[in-house]
């Protein structure tokens, strides 16, 4: 008589009574669902910032591309190469080549101030001097308006994100940096990557404008294949004329995003955890009131022979169902409100603005569901135990 099927039918029946009685407790139930929804929406919303930022950085580096900095430098800001060194790097084995030579771009990087489109206040933007191969090294670069700058001219092309966030940037406009005026000749996209937050010009022109002599800060290369990275790295390390560090671009950008994503993730989880405590109390309150309202029903079922364990599990399921409903509402709200919401923030490793889109990823949705599940379990456990421990004889006479 007490087989597992029988036990499941007990759990199913008690759960059904609980769920059917929800309309009688709609106020408390709605408060619980909204409480959990709030937690999940805030959690997913905040973490979608970190996920979006990480995605933008990750989109910047293909598996078969690498960046080379001076040994000991953790960002381009503190790196430096002579032209001689950049040639040795470009000629290293493992670098892809085409008819014009190795697919390598020696680059330098300055930070300029331009007014934000939204507030009019100044923001830091990276102005990158690149060589002709830059577009082939980063194969996602595509022009959405205008054309490539002409070598030797004070022309700039602007990433889509930077163009969107900065006032007065469009093809045909001029941006004024220092005493120079730079015509904008093209707008480009870069698969949502960090390059979209940058302004590019000819490296030689930028060197002259900023009195950098013939120095560079980094070399970006496209490898013959993703597997060629080790050969490329070993060759650079073995070369006594070079003191450099080579990284896959994906790893480099992942490092670059670490500080900000860690900060946002910690903040997001902290806020969500505080809210979750409130939501747990909401769930506790709802489930305690559910148990109180059904004391006699539960005692009656126990008297008829329904098991204590079945009562606990059924009430936990009810609590979980409410929490998951809240989780689904919260995840839906977060998706509608935050997914692809465009924003710009400071990348503290380069002290310049990065534009990116919030990303409500499947992983974040799952994370939200897990949080909702935990809230449901914690909120349902004590009331369920209380229900199971009700003295049957006394509870049968409860009004």
């Amino acid at each position: 008589m007490a087989g597992p099927l029988n036990w499941f039918s007990q759990v199913g029946s008690i759960t059904k009574f609980g769920l059917l009685s929800i309309p009688q407790r709609r106020g408390a139930v709605a408060a619980t669902i909204l409480g959990v929804a709030g937690v999940v929406a805030v959690l997913i919303g905040v973490l979608s910032i970190a996920a979006g930022f990480r995605r933008a950085m990750a989109a910047s580096g293909a598996a078969d591309s690498a960046v080379v900095l001076r040994s000991g430098a953790d960002s381009e800001m503190v790196s430096g190469f002579s032209r001689e060194e950049t040639r040795l790097i470009a000629d290293a084995p493992g670098v892809a080549r085409n008819a014009r030579g190795p697919l390598a771009s020696a680059e330098l990087f300055v930070i300029i101030n331009l007014p934000k489109r939204s507030t009019g206040t100044d923001t830091n933007l990276p102005l990158r001097g690149v060589e002709g191969a830059a577009v082939e090294v980063r194969d996602q670069v595509k022009f959405v308006a205008g054309r490539m700058f002409e070598p030797g001219k004070n022309e700039v092309i602007v990433g889509l994100g930077a163009a969107r966030e900065t006032a007065g940037i469009e093809v045909g406009a001029n941006i004024k940096v220092g005493r120079e005026s730079w015509p904008v000749v093209g707008i480009f996209s870069a698969g949502g990557g960090i390059a979209e937050s940058e302004i590019w010009t000819d490296a030689k022109v930028l060197q002259d404008a900023y009195h950098r002599g013939d120095s560079f800060q980094s070399v970006y290369v496209r490898l013959a294949s993703p597997g060629a990275f080790q050969q490329f790295k070993d060759a650079l390390t073995a070369n006594p004329r070079l003191s450099v560090k080579a990284e896959r671009q994906s790893e480099y950008y992942a490092e670059q995003s670490t500080l900000l994503t860690t900060l946002i993730t910690t903040l997001g989880i902290g806020i969500a955890a505080l809210m979750a405590v409130g939501a747990v109390f909401g769930a506790l309150n709802t489930m305690y009131s559910a148990v109180a309202a059904r004391t006699r029903e539960i005692a009656t079922l126990r008297a008829l022979g329904f098991g204590r364990g079945a009562v606990v599990v059924a009430l936990m399921i009810e609590s979980l169902v409410l929490a998951l409903a809240g989780g689904a509402v919260g995840a839906g709200l977060a998706y509608v409100a935050f997914n692809n919401f465009r924003a710009a923030t400071m990348n503290w490793q380069s002290f310049s603005q990065v534009t990116f889109a919030f990303a409500v990823t499947p992983r974040l949705l799952v994370q939200g569901v897990i949080w909702a599940t935990l809230i449901g379990l914690v909120g349902g456990l004590l009331p369920a135990i209380r229900a199971a421990r009700l003295p049957i004889a006394a509870a049968l006479r409860e009004l």
């Binding site: 008589m1 087989g3 029946s13 029903e297 005692a299 009656t300 022979g305 049957i392 049968l396 006479r397």
Partner: protein
């Protein structure tokens, strides 16, 4: 059937039963040195003033509570030492309960309420439906099967409660003040039903009541006062 019963022993046997409740440091002795035997097929009325321990005694017989001392044997099985888990299963197999306040699930129809104890058996859906229909027909409510408790009168609700109590054909039907919340007419209908179940189906019934009119329908009445029993001659 146990050896005890096969030898003509009682269906219900309580020996030296004591029940003590604690309220803080205070000790409240509700039942003391109580002996009771109920034969199979009997309709026993348990009477007594409020606080005399009638319901406590019924709870001990129904396996809803444990005695502080003494033994409770039902159909040859000692239930006073059973674990909570074992008692749940035992109640499902042997006991049908009828409550003063009916204790129906408000969100379930009459037939779904009656079906509840059958969910604890291995009967399939079709068999359960058949048992439910039979039980409802026995209490004269086949036509109200789809009705929800709030749409039924008090008497009808109690008859649904009785149908739920007998649907598994339990060894023993325990009724706690089954007419306590009903007017005289509805109460009489319920008592007629219980009497018919006892006389025509041979159902063993123990009924707690403080109403002499109700106890008059039983085949035997025992009085409980200050935790002790006093018998009335069998009819």
């Amino acid at each position: 059937m146990s050896e005890n019963q096969a030898n003509g022993g009682p269906l219900v046997r309580l020996d030296g039963v004591e029940k003590v409740f604690h309220r803080g440091t205070e000790e409240i002795r509700v039942l003391s040195e109580l002996h009771l035997e109920v034969a199979e097929g009997e309709f026993l009325a348990l009477m007594g003033p409020s606080g005399s321990g009638k319901s406590t005694l019924l709870n001990l017989i129904g396996g809803l509570d444990h005695p502080t001392k003494g033994t409770v044997t039902i159909a040859g099985e000692r239930i006073d030492r059973m674990s909570d888990r074992a008692l749940s299963g035992w109640r499902a197999r042997h006991i049908g309960f009828v409550f003063q306040l009916y204790n129906l699930m408000p969100t379930l129809s009459a037939e779904r309420n009656v079906e509840l104890p059958l969910l604890l058996t291995h009967l399939g859906k079709a068999e359960r439906r058949q048992h439910v229909a039979t039980a409802l027909a026995m209490v004269g409510l086949a036509h109200r099967a789809k009705y929800f408790p709030r749409t039924l009168s008090g008497g009808e609700q109690q008859r649904v409660g009785i149908a739920r109590g007998i649907v598994t054909d339990p060894t023993l039907l325990l009724c706690d003040e089954p007419t306590g919340d009903l007017d005289r007419k509805a109460g009489d209908e319920v008592l007629n039903l219980l009497q018919a179940l006892n006389r025509e189906q041979g159902k063993t019934i123990i009924m707690v009541t403080h109403d002499p009119h109700a106890s008059a329908r039983a085949s035997r009445t025992v009085h409980l006062d200050k935790g002790q029993l006093g018998d009335e001659p069998a009819k």
